[in-house]
């Protein structure tokens, strides 16, 4: 009978405690797995959102999060188009606005983009913006939830009043909805209306061409993004150009520290917790079975075999628990993700818990080590057991 078979028999014999131990490991393991998902989840999700927009470089006026107009943005956009490796350029400006329909008036984010084929949103319905429309006309692409919230779908007319400083006496402009789109960074519960830069400027009452706040650049396949970033820096040293990787790195350093830290802390704690609990359980279990161990030693069963049997007992409890932790962790992650996404202002498409194969590998490795470490002390106990004294105690006890 192999050590694994002996361990299995022991586990089955004491099935109530084994089941409870496995449940305990599964629950703690689910938490560990989720913390591993959380450790880079926000970053991975953010990077996916960025890359999904289809643009690889972003140009802003300043370092940091403050939105300021980029001086001479139109000229800059033109110059960037000429940089080798650049596929398309779009200039973006965003303002607060009120949209009025038959159902009433609500606040939206009004986004204006310069004429281009590329859009920083994904059209799901409708023809979308056509730059061939007359300058007096206003076309609008709205978010998915807009039709149900405002009662206005593709083809409908809406009245848009820009609110550049919260209060406004600007006249409303009429826009026709020409498309429904997914806006990657649109927050849950908030609405976005995208139109041309010209229409936005009309809504703002700008008599001259205003400046964009961000210029998005898509690169041709095979183009080196860092070289494009450097070229933009040479063109205009007063602006800041970032590749998507740069943006992600900045957010990694400044924006996600809390969740990274808490995932490290909780991962460490849950690992220590699992080790402590399994080791305690095994030790108490061994102490209860010292007579059995002494008999095995008296019969001539080698210490190494007994050690392997105890290791397999630990591995069975921890291994089955760790595997059960994966689906449990998945369910828990969905719940925790839903909870955390209640934070105000979070982009709809952003998730805190994102699966990466690396998380699975780390999870299994951690529990592999935990199984071995948890068995160490019970194995030491069994190896050092004074056979005669234990047998005597068993008979007397």
């Amino acid at each position: 009978m192999t050590p694994l078979a002996l361990a299995w028999r022991t586990t089955v014999r004491y099935r109530a405690r084994a089941i409870l131990a496995i449940v305990g490991v599964a629950v703690i393991g689910a938490l560990l797995f989720d913390m591993l998902l959380l450790s880079r989840g926000l970053l991975v999700s953010f990077a996916r959102l960025l890359n999904a927009e289809g643009f690889d470089v972003r140009i802003v006026a300043t370092q940091g999060l403050t939105r300021l107009p980029i001086p001479d943005s139109a000229a800059l956009a033109q110059a960037v188009r000429a940089v080798p490796g650049v596929a398309d350029v779009v200039a973006i400006r965003a303002e607060s606005a009120d949209v009025r329909t038959d159902r009433g008036s609500r606040r939206v984010t009004l986004v204006g983009r310069s004429g281009t084929n590329a859009n920083p949103w994904r059209l799901v319905r409708g023809p979308g913006l056509t730059d061939a429309a007359s300058p007096a006309a206003c076309e609008a692409v709205v978010d998915r939830a807009f039709p149900s919230a405002f009662g206005a779908d593709v083809g409908a007319q809406i009245q848009v009043t820009a609110l550049p400083s919260g209060q406004s006496a600007l006249p409303a402009i009429g826009c026709r909805i020409v498309g429904i789109a997914d806006f990657g960074f649109s927050a849950s519960g908030e609405h976005t209306v995208a139109t041309t830069m010209a229409a936005l400027q009309r809504a703002m009452g700008d008599t001259r061409e205003g400046d964009a706040e961000v210029i998005l650049v898509s690169t041709a396949a095979g183009a080196e993004r860092e070289a494009i970033v450097r070229a933009i820096g040479r063109l205009r040293p007063d602006v800041r150009a970032y590749s998507n990787a740069d943006v992600v790195e900045q957010f990694d350093r400044n924006g996600f520290a809390y969740f990274r830290q808490i995932s490290v802390v909780l991962s460490t704690l849950t690992t220590a917790f699992a080790f402590l609990l399994v080791a305690t359980l095994l030790t108490v279990s061994i102490n209860q079975r010292l007579g059995e161990i002494a008999v095995l030693r008296a019969l001539g069963i080698a210490r190494q075999r007994i050690a392997r049997m105890l290791f397999w007992e630990s591995a069975l409890l921890v291994g089955v628990g760790a595997l059960a932790a994966l689906p449990l962790g998945g369910v828990l992650a969905v719940g925790l993700d839903r909870l955390l996404r209640q934070m105000p202002g979070l982009p709809e498409g952003l998730h805190f818990f994102v699966f990466e194969p690396r998380a699975l590998v780390v999870h299994l490795a951690v529990f592999g080590v935990t199984a071995a470490a948890s068995a160490a002390y019970p194995i030491w106990l069994a190896a050092r057991l004074p056979i005669a004294e234990t047998l005597r105690r068993e008979i007397v006890g």
């Binding site: 009978m1 192999t2 002996l6 028999r9 022991t10 089955v12 014999r13 007579g291 059995e292 008999v295 095995l296 030693r297 008296a298 019969l299 001539g300 069963i301 080698a302 210490r303 075999r305 056979i387 005669a388 047998l391 005597r392 068993e394 008979i395």
Partner: protein
């Protein structure tokens, strides 16, 4: 096989002026004092004595479960104290068979698996193990209880399975510590009969017992008191 004159054969185990002292918080306790004893191949030796006289301690030294504080225990000519725990373990596995008062069958294994376990440890092939196990189950009269767990067996049945387990690797010496201590008289007699049969088949037996009927079946009877073997 019939036992030849045991005195002519070299001793399986030779205890030479062995003492065993246990350090206790209240002071050291000498469980064995200067004991000399030899058990030869094919012998049937019974040791009797009051509780606490050192019988089990002597058995543990002979069975290579413990080592003497002073003196020597030679098993088949090898000084047990000088051996590594691994070597002692090997002796216990292949040369000695243990029978305990409380049976000590592994509760999670069936009767057959309990018998097979030492053979598996000794490296016997599966087919050999299965055959030997069947033979031993027949030997002890429990072929129909092979797949039963110890919790499903009576005390006498458990002890018979324990004897079968002790014989699994064809030991030179069977060591039994109060084998009928937890059994009623009738069941104890059945177990005693089994020991007779084992002895008749050539295995040396050293047993410790309070049971005078069991002791009377041995070819040599020794009495212990206060850690020493009393002169005959």
């Amino acid at each position: 096989m019939t036992p030849a004159d045991p005195e002519r054969r070299p001793p399986i185990v030779d205890v030479q002026h062995a003492s065993r002292i246990f350090p206790m918080t209240a002071g050291p306790v000498a469980a064995l004092r200067d004991v000399t004893l030899s058990v030869h191949s094919g012998e049937y030796v019974a040791i009797t004595g009051p509780s606490g006289c050192g019988k089990s301690t002597l058995l543990h030294l002979v069975g290579c479960v413990d080592t003497p504080t002073s003196g020597a225990v030679l098993f088949e000519g090898r000084d047990v104290a000088a051996l590594s725990e691994g070597d002692r373990s090997r002796i216990r596995l292949t040369r000695i068979g243990f029978v305990f008062q409380r049976f000590f069958l592994l509760p999670m294994l069936t009767a057959a698996e309990n018998i097979e376990l030492p053979q598996s440890e000794a490296g016997a092939p599966l087919s050999d193990r299965r055959l030997r196990t069947r033979t031993l189950l027949e030997y002890v009269g429990l072929s129909d209880r092979a797949d039963h767990l110890p919790s499903q067996l009576s005390g006498g049945e458990m002890q018979r399975i324990a004897i079968a387990r002790a014989l699994a690797n064809r030991p030179a010496l069977l060591v039994a510590d109060e084998p009928t201590g937890e059994l009623d008289e009738a069941t104890g007699d059945h177990v005693a009969d089994l020991f007779d049969r084992v002895h008749a088949d050539g295995t040396a037996i050293l047993l410790v017992t309070h049971n005078p009927t069991l002791a009377a079946r041995a070819s040599r009877r020794l009495t212990m008191a206060s850690g020493s073997i009393l002169p005959c």
